[in-house]
Amino acid sequence: MRALVWIIEDTWEDTVDEAAAFLPTDAEVTLLHVASTEPETLARAARRGLLGRQRPPDLEQPLRVISEQAAHDLLADAATRLGRPARLDARRGRVKHEVVAAAEGMDFLVLARDGDRERLGPRSLGPAARFVVDHAPCGVLLIWPDVAPALTTIPPPPPPGTPPPESPPRG
């Protein structure tokens, strides 16, 4: 069995623990991290807003280097925590597309909910995880970081005859 474990910064420990608990010991595990280029682009956009300034390149600690080093360290820590051999896959770019591409040829994808973790419901999936769950070309194990919220967090059903609610604006 080939399994892909997609980790993100905030919830990597829980994802790795659940993967270790659920995946059979003979599974070929790949740990995946995708660095979003969004913050780097935002930082660069703000600099472009400062018209006319030019800094010599040696002054600029390239954000890309910081990001790649952080991803490398994170994957190494995740491999240690997993406690069994795993292939490490560090990618960068459009996160959700990269995850789906990395899942090709896999039997299983393990990922964590990346949205509102306080209550059960569609908002518990952020835009990236929702896209990945919708498009994954393999089976998916979707975990709750920490413990799953109680069933009481689901709002009571609307009285009969109420139109269905609109889908949440931020997915």
Partner: protein, 415 residues
């Protein structure tokens, strides 16, 4: 040359210069583009030599002031002040992204106000990015916070933003009076940002609790902090002792650079680069180009549009128009066009103009004309920036910040 033709020509040159400044082609720097544009306008007679002299002598002290502040910020970087701030944020956050955001707000606002928005965007933002990466949390809310505060917190002091320096020169306010009047508007603008950010990024800022190792208390470099403190005291006392604030900035810059030179921690060339000569030339060239446009009828047009009163509706209209203008053409040319007219109308309008041109750019950062170019760049870089999210955050913060800041400016002027 007929005024209409000269005005049209000046506007074309302005648009071309801004185009170069945004697109940054490798074969033409913005300083050269602005200089060529300015010389061209002189040659064709769109602007007279005496007007050029006036524009340059008006801008000269401001540009010198700016150079001194850039040198101070560069010295703070050399002495490790920004890295120490990163360590301070990491320690204060105690592993919580929400607490990190609060620290980023305080530090980014302080750096912007005291060392200018350039220092925030160029020197602090990479440190914040690295701090979030080390904390293993999404850098997005924190980088967005730096970018927004570079604009919103740049209202406080004349040195916080080049736009303020330009208006400060024109307004004849004292340094302390400027800060007094802009203190409440700054608090309002930053406060609005914080409330919106906490809600907008609520999901990104929550994460499961795990034991986090707390970094050691960082050693804050004392020397640059002392120079900054003394420079600020000098600014505050400038009107009392009758010395222009620019001289305190120059003294601060000397205090930051001379020891570094003596100890060979910086070369003269590196120091000269730290003052960004290309940028200073760009500002001067842009000043001449805008002078050509203003002298040929643009100032009359601005005067017709910009309210000159100091009532609350007038100030709100000035701030809104300035924000729109800053988003159309970028805030630097917008300030050069609006400030002379607003300064003639009085303290209220000129400070309301600053609220507009400083806070407004959070809608598009570079100005919407430039955003067209920027979008092309974004597409070329294969990034996952959600333009919709970027614009929504601007739409949620900018109008509310503008209104809150302007209302408090109006109150401050009444007291």
């Amino acid at each position: 040359m007929a005024d209409g033709v000269a005005l049209a020509l000046a506007l074309v040159v302005l648009a071309a210069t801004l185009g170069v400044a945004v697109a940054r082609p490798p074969y033409l720097s913005e300083a050269v583009a602005a200089s060529i544009g300015a010389v061209l306008l002189v040659i064709v007679g769109a602007v007279g030599l005496s007007e050029v002299g006036d524009a340059l002598s008006d801008l000269g002290p401001t540009v010198g002031f700016l150079a001194a502040m850039l040198l101070i910020a560069d010295g703070c970087r050399r002495d490790g002040l920004f890295d120490a701030m990163g360590a301070l944020m990491a320690r204060g956050a105690k592993g919580s992204p929400t607490r990190l955001l609060a620290f980023v707000f305080v530090i980014a606002a302080a750096v912007t106000a005291v060392l200018s928005l350039d220092a925030n965007v160029v020197l602090l933002t990479p440190v914040v990015f690295a701090t979030a990466a080390r904390m293993r949390t999404s850098a997005k809310p924190h980088v967005y916070a730096c970018a927004h505060l570079a604009n919103s917190a740049s209202l406080l002091l004349p040195v916080s933003n080049l736009t303020n320096l330009l208006a400060f020169q024109a307004s004849k306010l004292s340094f302390t009076r400027f800060a007094e009047l802009m203190a409440l508007p700054t608090i309002a603008a930053v406060g609005v940002e914080f409330v919106v950010f906490r809600r907008f990024f609520a999901v990104d800022l929550k994460r499961p609790r795990h034991a986090a190792t707390r970094p050691a208390r960082p050693e804050l470099p004392r020397f640059p902090l002392a120079v900054l403190a003394l420079t600020l005291v000098g600014f505050a006392l400038s009107s009392v002792v009758g010395i222009e604030p620019v001289w305190f900035a120059a003294a601060g810059a000397a205090a930051m650079t001379i020891p570094a030179l003596a100890r060979r921690r910086a070369t003269p060339l590196a120091l000269a680069r730290g003052a960004e000569p290309g940028f200073l030339i760009f500002v001067l060239g842009l000043g001449v180009i805008v002078q050509a446009a203003s002298g040929n009828g643009l100032d009359t047009a601005v005067r017709d549009v910009l309210p000159s009163g100091s009532s609350l509706p007038d100030l709100l209209a000035v701030a809104a128009l300035s924000a729109i203008f800053a988003n159309l053409v970028n805030n630097l040319p917008a300030t050069l066009m609006l400030v002379p007219v607003a300064a003639a109308a009085g303290t209220g309008p000129v400070l309301a103009t600053l609220i507009g041109v400083n806070v407004g750019p959070n809608l598009t950062y570079v100005g919407s004309l430039a955003t067209l170019l920027w979008r092309r760049i974004l597409r070329a870089e294969d990034t996952d920036v959600e333009l919709g999210e970027f614009l929504r955050l601007g739409a949620l913060t900018v109008p509310a910040s503008l209104v809150a800041a302007t209302v408090l400016l109006w109150l401050a002027l009444k007291v």
